[in-house]
Amino acid sequence: MSNKYVGQRVKRTEDPRLIKGLAHYVDDISLPGTLHVAFVRSVYAHAKITGIDTSAALETPGVVAVYTGADVNDKVGPVPCAGALPDLKVPDHRVLAKDKVYFMGHPIAVVVAKDRYVARDAADLVVVDYDELPVVTDVEEAAKGGPVIHDAWSDNIAYRLTSGEGDIDAAFAAADRTVKQRVLHQRLAPIAMEPRGVLARYFPGEQELTLWSSTQIPHLMRTQVAIMIGIPENKLRVITPEVGGGFGSKLNVYAEEALLAWISMQLGKPVKWIESRRENIQATIHGRGQVGEIEIAFKNDGTLTGLRYSVFADLGAYHQLLTPAIPTLTGLMLSGAYKIPAIQMNITACFTNKMATDAYRGAGRPEATYIVERGLDLVAADLGMDPAEVRRKNFPAPNEFPFHTATGLDYDSGDYEAALDKAQQIAGYAKLREEQKKARDEGRLIGIGISTYVEICALGPSQAMPAGGWESATVRIEPTGKVTVLTGASPHGQGQETSFAQIAADELGVSIDDVTVIHGDTGVVQYGIGTFGSRATAVGGTAVFVAIQKLKEKADKIAAHMLKADASRLSFEGGKYSLQQAAAAAAATGSSDPVVPVGEAPAGALPEPQVDGKSGVTIQEIALAAHIAKDLPPDTEPGLSATYFFEPKNFTFPFGTHIAVVEIDRETGDIEFLRYVAVDDCGKVINPLLVDGQVHGGIVQSIGQALFEEVVYNEDGQLITGTLMDYALPRASDIPKQFELDRTETPSPVNPLGVKGVGEAGTIGATPAIVGAVVDALAPFGVKHLDMPIKPENVWRIINGH
């Protein structure tokens, strides 16, 4: 198949509606008679509720209803957790607080009113009496004991888990040298620019419910909400209209979604809730939240022999959908891009009086990469080796793939040294080191950080996933020749309406303008899993590709029938089946068969496919013939459509090298990027423009983690970074002047497209490069490691000895 679109920088088909302001996010959908919902949330991190007085709220003109936990908790099922681990403690997570609140922002009551302003006013009139309880926010305190959060248990430890392969004790006993470092992964807020939002509408006559939700997982949500509110799953339709970013925060089923659905059923009216940003930082999942100790055993020549990571994972007060699973993903990726014969991870996962942590872009893997890459820098410093050379020394060679790690994975394909070489070449690494030395002699503080990451993507085989790891696609060609692609993936900014259309247009030989990709509507699209874990293209795109091959098998038969030839004599090129001989002759004379345009039929009648005496037939003509169905091959179903559910046999393992160069202002401690080079290998690339965008965005979220962002609770459990004034996101002026991106391309053998995934590469690969650069810049002050976020104040204190 010739590629007209795949591999090209195709502009997005999504964009026109978005740049004109004509797209529809949840809050842009208005239904007549919609009621608005506001939540009453806990102002304390841990307290007994001794009374709730809703009378003033109920008396407010415009208020329709007020519900508390007593009204709903025996009617709406618990908020689901899909993480299954041995001996995991799963708290009873009700949609509204019962008799206790466990974190600031914990929903207590819900007010329904005719107007969103009135709902907010009335929520403030709900009086909640609390008896404060002792609070534990520090995860290490929680592990030691501290105030116990859940009465069902005697401690705060949700689970302990040890994983890894190889004789770790022997590795450390036999090591020439070891390094050890305590490492913090601060809590982060995902901050999708569109906060969460839900619109629920119950149709009492049909007994059907439609739920519009800003989510990454419409089908999984349908299943879970149906269970929670007790409605048959086939009476619930979940629609994700435009979704304004997710980054994992909308890979969840929240209390609000089930509650709104239930309230709509009670009141028989549409009800809408749009999260405020303050609620978003309080009560949408956070990411990261680990503190641990890394130990590495190695030989005098830099060969790694063992790695141990003992970590406390801060889960927050409750489990959301994947909360307990995230630290285990860290354990899977502790081998990084290196041959390490023995690896051990010891997780102690604890409840704290804070919002739950869960998947935030990278979801456990940025933690692993950060630990391993910081560790490699420490090894290099210990041995006086260049950090690039320590890495190079421990890479598996390309012919060692599939490469088995001591974390139990089999990496699919890789050429780690090629990416490192390319990045070093682009950066002018040797010259950079010389310039750094010269600058240091002049008193300037320049640092170079390097990260040679590998990530686990295309999640994943169903065996390794809580609720299926496959993805689905239906491809059909309508009677008019237009191509419709239904994908179970639910993209929300990644651009799969374009990249899947590229695949379909090339495989079917049609114009991309004739392809429409539909997603995010359980009433229209076959069951799917969703968009997360850099899986949409590698798993969902493959489903599209294979569905098209199935569709073409049928088209082959119809074409042969129409051309009265054996299918083996036909070739398919440019959207047209041709008799091979005739095609060759036509090519020789420079002529081609006229194709009957489908649009030229008389008004009101479908055009008849006309093929008599022709040597070729277009895929559009076949689609028409398949729908008219007057003359199909024997035993052929009418219509031209195929559905495929793709189950991947393995994950994919993208990789790359990031190099950051920073300069520190001695006067202010300010950190400025001088260079940023990223060579990423995400396998085959469908659309380089979109890949660049994913990499840029990921790197800047890494800049956020490395230098700015931190969810801070004080010792009383009060969230003190509760607005975007206090929670610092990177701005346009905080980025390097120009990202210098390049790629190597090592196809994945896991799927026929050879793609690996790129959505999280930036947040996984970049953070250690940035921190490594700052640490390197401060090496003259004896700095070997700094915890994130590295703020100018910290840097200034180091420079000035405070």
Partner: protein, 156 residues
Amino acid sequence: MKKTINLSVNGVSRSDEVEPRLLLVHYLRDVLELTGTHVGCETSLCGACTVMVDGQAVKSCTMFAVQAEGASITTIEGLAKNGELHPVQEGFWERHGLQCGYCTPGMIVTAAQLLDRNANPSREEICHGLEGNLCRCTGYQHIIEAVEYAAKKAAR
């Protein structure tokens, strides 16, 4: 106690009775059904709600509708003229300046004002001009390139 406001939005005269506390962004979205202007933070920090008020980029989530009395407002829906995209809109499409699209209307309006004030901005001036608008998806580089594209296009 509602107040009557008279103003022009995207070239159309409007007269509506509104509550004094109604925010401009909610007037645009809920009363006029111009939902291209988004709310991202309610505190004028993210810029998703940016609209042009008498030629100035203003965050409409912290301005009351009654304060717009007599004003001429342009929202994202009013930028394209006669079916032709504004150069900044075109730049965002050409240079992949958006992913989820939520910050995009505010970002485009701010960039349009930036170019009104400075037809040939440096990269640094573009970054400074966009500091009040947050994007979580793109990492900004393609947005900056989109503004550069628009500046070049407008200069032709």
